[in-house]
Amino acid sequence: MTTHKDKIPFEAITREQVRDYAEASGDHNPIHLDPEFAKKAGLPDVIAHGMLSMGLAGLALEKWGYSMERLRHFESKFKEKVFIGDELFAEHLDEASVKLSDTKQIKVSWHLIKADATEVLTAEALFDL
């Protein structure tokens, strides 16, 4: 079953936002914070934390009206690095009822894409009904 949900835009990723996420998460890996380190690793600049992208994907679920209190499973596959200045969008792909043993759940599929439609991550979540 496909249920229409609006595409959700997020503000362009900034260095300050990546620093804020490092503070919140405790992940101070230099590949996210130190441009020189990133360049030595073969990247043009620092990259945003994958979990920042995943967190934005989680925020989209809430904006689409899903109850995070009922969230039971959340998974994602990372497809592309996110750089400073990238604009991200969450796009709802599918929603379906599933039955696991005696429990009925809703399975939601969506993805996070850049402005040029490059897929950043794909995600699936299960919610209790």
Partner: protein, 132 residues
């Protein structure tokens, strides 16, 4: 680099403690540029620190990361505030086509009662520049 293939798995990280309180939830809210008060589903990020420490311990260059997938299962609502205990295990290692293939499992529990709140799985592929 040490030889993962000779390791006896699972290989466990140390147990780490993390405090989760209103201040930390607010810092996630700020980072996501959101006014959502719900705890982010990615709160299991705390498990990742352990994962990278295991990689560093065995001298794998994680900057050569090619692929990562993550999943979280939520067993109970996170109480706020709470002290969490996080432990990660390397459960599987393969080396093929000049790549390290690693699978990790993490458990996030309450420190006091040892109640399982979140279990996480991570699969990562890292290029081995030695070409071995």
């Amino acid at each position: 680099m040490k030889d993962f293939e000779k390791l006896s798995l699972p290989l466990q990280s140390e147990k780490k403690q993390v405090s989760l309180d209103e201040k930390r939830v607010a810092s996630f809210e700020k980072a996501f540029r959101s006014n959502s008060k719900s705890i982010p589903p990615t709160i299991g990020i705390f498990a990742l620190g352990n994962m990278f420490e295991l990689l560093n311990q065995f001298e794998i260059d994680w900057t050569k990361l090619l692929h990562i997938s993550q999943s979280f299962d939520y067993h109970q609502k996170l109480p706020i505030p709470c002290n969490l205990q996080v432990q990660t295990s390397l459960i599987r290692y393969r080396h093929r086509n000049s790549q390290h293939w690693l699978s990790f499992e993490s458990k996030i529990k309450t420190c006091e009662k040892q109640e399982l709140l979140i279990s996480a799985k991570s699969s990562i592929i890292i290029m081995d520049p030695s070409g071995e």
